[in-house]
Symmetry: C2
Subunit: 361 residues, 2 copies
Amino acid sequence: GGRASSAMEKEAVAAIARMIGWDTHLGHLCSGGTMANLEALWVAGQLHPGKTVVASTQAHYTHQRIAGVLGLPFETIPCDRAGRIDTAALSRRLAAGGVGTIVATMGTTATGAVDPLDAIVELRSRYDFRIHADAAYGGYFLLVKDLDAQTRRAFDRIAEAASVVIDPHKHGLQPYGCGCVLFRDPSMGRLYSHDSPYTYFTSTEMHLGEISLECSRPGAAAVALWATQRLFPLVCDGEFARGLTNGRAAALELYERLRKDGRFVIGSAPELDIIVWAPRAKRISEASALSQRIFDEAARRHLHLALATLPVHLIDVEDMQRDQDTIFCLRSVLMKPEHRAWVDRIWSILDDATTAAAVKR
Amino acid sequence: GGRASSAMEKEAVAAIARMIGWDTHLGHLCSGGTMANLEALWVAGQLHPGKTVVASTQAHYTHQRIAGVLGLPFETIPCDRAGRIDTAALSRRLAAGGVGTIVATMGTTATGAVDPLDAIVELRSRYDFRIHADAAYGGYFLLVKDLDAQTRRAFDRIAEAASVVIDPHKHGLQPYGCGCVLFRDPSMGRLYSHDSPYTYFTSTEMHLGEISLECSRPGAAAVALWATQRLFPLVCDGEFARGLTNGRAAALELYERLRKDGRFVIGSAPELDIIVWAPRAKRISEASALSQRIFDEAARRHLHLALATLPVHLIDVEDMQRDQDTIFCLRSVLMKPEHRAWVDRIWSILDDATTAAAVKR
């Protein structure tokens, strides 16, 4: 990027920092959530060298990969039935010692569960650790007013994390290739310091290339994000927040229909805009097979669902025979504002696909 | 990316592998050269854990950064007067032991110098190490026939590197956000293995997400690269190669004018399409200050040069007083085919800017 796009990047990132609740910060755009999380854990590892990074079993798999790349020990903590990190288990792990960083997932990619950041922050009264909030998926839901009380309490503490990752290429209306990492403490910039012999000589102030592990980056991403944020400001009562609210409303509505329909078993009520469910069957293995058939039948009808393998305890499988520890579920992400108006049509196709899949059993 | 863009990515990357001279390979696109080099050094580090990565003092600064991120020891090897890695010094360093990986820069970013890969390959008869060819900048010059003999000999051995990085967003006519990493041995894929619980279930064959440290990536980059390579195939006698040849011809022509003009001192003849030079002065410090003034005067005349700090030994400073170890030079990258036709105009503006800068001294 050039001078203009760098200025726009600084403004756009500052707006995200203000959304988090930070007046000062250090941060920049990067190519995506993996690179953003890599920078956050790289900084965390420099401040707590050799100490363990912990994340929930439902955290994005990139954290384990990244910890491996950085040479940091990594452990997972079990989740509760809603897919949130189990704070009792986390507390026991902290008591055992050696934990440097807790990754709090603010919206898991599989089910949209939000880790109880409020409880994690409270644990700092007893233990010394760094909190990295991976809000790559869910970060913008900060702006939504009518979240569940528990989700709201978690988001309300995000300013107390040491670092936050948000992907504008998810809910931020940007195309792929736009992640964002932010640090609460601007002095983290010292960890990035390096000498580049041939670039940036036209600027005397600290430039973005000095606070990024990536070198030259597309200015276009910054320009697009800046422009989007001018048109759709990151405020609670704006058009942008209404889009997120509508997506969540669509997820809640579809969840209610699934819950009341005897053909399905479901996960917890959606915290954000993702729902997971499975067809009811005698055994888990049969339900898993039927999920695949419903997926295929829906796709033939141009309803493109997703599939997810989840631990059985995340789904209320009731009296189904637990012949497997994981269940192959259907998954839908209602992230477009239009989804709210489409719920009837989605339901109609899903109904039809489910009937067709059952016949083929 | 989706299915179509993944298929296009595989085809586009295979075409780059064939250009290198590989019938089989493992590789993928990524967000840029830093991420591509990170993956290459990450693989190198897994195969030679704890061993030192060496690169020349003119290698891109990202290698030192990346080695630090990966927790690998890193050392630099001096360069000869042309900015290429000094093979005698490299040989001595290998004899001292502990080197796992040599980064051969196939076109430095500062001056376009190409490390003598042929000599580095020969060193493997005596020492056991892995070669990573960082051809992020210069890789496509493989296709240019009339390189200097030494440069040609280096490129002719690139197929013997274990990994190669090429940035299509440099000479490959792509916008930012398109790097490429390739491994000669497809079995390197085993080092990437991971489980993603919720993606890719629609494909049974190995997918690109399984051989990349990044997770979801823009399919648009793959589509654009694939389409570009269909229109401008990666062949020696094609339009694309002619573009590179023209850029190099422009650099050679400008180099000759600078060499014959008593007002300037210059670096070695360009191996690719980059030239560096400085105004002649009594002392190095004066030449450096004058470089900045010429840069400014040229910019006022809409000729946008670059500036680079180089070790004095890379410039033929003749009898200038060496009151500094580094010299602040002017730098120009003639990477557009049109530059060949623009040489007269560039020279005319540079001449004018140099005169104006001298008057202000």
